[in-house]
Amino acid sequence: MSIDWAALGQVFGVSLAVTVGFVGVFTLGILGTSRKAQPAEAGPGATSTTPGASATAGAALGPARLGAYACFALCAAAVAYGINLIVA
């Protein structure tokens, strides 16, 4: 009886790398498409400035949003590769 340590180690390494990579890239995509949480201590006085603030944030988000879409595209490619592995 021989245990195939090499295959087991390979499964472990590949699984860890791909899972962490996929989750990391996807999270970056989420970061690019979501706003920072509004600080809770911004009192009622701050609400009047909110529309303007969010507008400037929206403009600044341009490249970030583009990067986020690239991240999601990478993830979609990974899923497609996964389906390919199942089918093949």
């Binding site: 009886m1 295959a7 087991l8 899972t19 999270t27 920072k36 949480a37």
Partner: protein
């Protein structure tokens, strides 16, 4: 398929019943955390999983061939009675663990049943003990560790990266990602587990002389096995879904995404590299890992411990039942009939026991709070492995879960009502 005897017919039906139990036992693997994080509604989730299982069943027939000639030695005089007894053992163990709400491996139940029946009926020669260690024991230990570590690291990472972001807003993204991962798990499950049943039916047809040795499964076998597993998946093993989605740990969207992605990756990596790991153990392990990866996340080790105990017991228990069934079935036609009658009666008893405290799509996301009812015969037998009534941790989490799923909730009644109207 020119000549199929009554016995072979019975074996085929039993195999399809096993396939069905396999389906509803393993819905939890793909969909438990998807349902508990709210990424998909319970019924949508099981419907999607069922369709993907059906599609998966048609994709390839490679796995079907590993059943015969792998663990069981095809040439050593396996007869249809033996396969029948093995299947009965596997079905009964699957139903018992379902009643207890424990995710245990359907493949191990199948292997255990076939091994037990072969041992009784043929003897040690019929079983490849090296292969048991390689294909069952080592993977059973490795699977939860590999998946758990991957999911834990991924959970840590995603929480660190998304620090300071609005939870509500990121949750949408996580849920979408989780649906994709869950779909991959379902598809992989269809290609793997539906084919195990195809392999068994093909093996029965070969041993009965209806098919030439080394044949591929005929089309009607592929279709019926795919339909049986899809139907089982659609009905959903809600008890097991509840244990995996809510019982082991409280899953939030980032954790659900990390757990499901880890599970999908490990399953694909293991089947591609050629070190097969059990889907159930991979998924349970990744849920535990995700529970550990969040700060303040709690893994309920008592539930996890019972689950592990069920994993350890699966092979010998299914083997024992199957061995007894093989002993009886070897007596001839009346023996086979007796096994069939006893098996049907046992299934009915387990089902009746489950009706006392039904779990379905309406209450799948609630944590049990009612202590056990008066103990019946079957419940007494499985009490050793049953998940405990939720403790203080679960009680504390209960209100939060109820609020997030049904805003206007007075827990049980209200959610049951919304379930029946939708």
């Amino acid at each position: 398929m020119e000549h199929i005897t009554l016995l072979i017919g019975i074996v085929i039906i039993t195999a399809l019943v096993f396939d069905f139990t396999n389906g509803f036992h393993d819905t939890a693997n793909a969909m438990a955390t998807t349902i508990s994080t709210g990424a998909l509604g319970p019924r949508t989730a099981v419907a999607m999983s069922a369709v993907l299982n059906l599609v998966g069943a048609f994709l390839s027939v490679e796995v079907a061939k590993t059943i015969s000639g792998g663990i069981i030695d095809e040439g050593s005089g396996i007869r249809p009675e033996v396969i029948f007894a093995g299947l009965v053992g596997a079905i009964l163990w699957n139903l018992l663990t379902w009643l207890a709400g424990l995710p245990s491996s359907s493949s191990h139940a199948l292997f255990g049943g076939l091994i037990g029946a072969t041992l009784v009926s043929v003897g040690m020669d019929g079983v490849n003990s090296d292969k048991i260690v390689m294909k069952v024991l080592i993977p059973a230990v490795a699977a939860p560790i590999v998946a758990g570590v991957a999911a834990m690291v991924a959970t840590r990472l995603t929480y660190r990266l998304a620090r300071g972001r609005d939870d509500q807003e990121t949750a949408k993204g996580y849920r979408a990602g989780q649906i994709a991962s869950a779909a991959l798990v379902s598809l992989a499950h269809g290609t793997n587990d539906a084919q195990k049943t195809m392999g068994v039916i093909t093996l029965a047809l070969i041993t009965g002389g209806a098919l030439a040795p080394d044949s591929d499964p005929p089309l009607w076998v592929i279709v019926s096995a795919g339909l049986a597993i899809a139907l089982g998946t659609y009905l959903g093993g809600w008890r097991i879904i509840r244990t995996m989605g809510k019982g082991i740990t409280d899953i939030q969207p980032p954790q659900g995404f990390a757990a499901q992605t880890g599970a999908a990756t490990v399953i694909l990596a293991s089947s591609h590299i050629g070190f097969a790991l059990s889907t159930t153990q991979v998924c349970s392990g990744s849920v535990m890992g995700a529970g550990l990866g969040r700060k303040g996340g709690v893994v309920r080790w008592s539930t996890a411990g019972r689950m592990v105990l069920a994993w350890v017991l699966t092979l010998p228990a299914a083997g024992l039942v199957a061995g007894g069934a093989a002993l009886l079935a070897d007596q001839g036609n009346w023996g086979v009939t007796a096994v069939a009658v006893i098996a049907v009666a046992a299934c009915a008893a387990i089902w009746a026991a489950s009706r006392r405290k039904p779990v379905d799509h309406t209450n799948v996301n609630e944590v049990e709070t009612v202590p056990a009812e008066p103990v019946g015969v079957v419940t007494a037998a499985i009490q050793a492995v049953a998940p405990p009534p939720a403790g203080p941790v679960a009680a504390a989490a209960g209100p939060v879960a109820a609020v997030s799923s049904t805003p206007s909730a007075t827990p049980a009644g209200a959610s049951a009502a919304t379930g029946s109207t939708s």
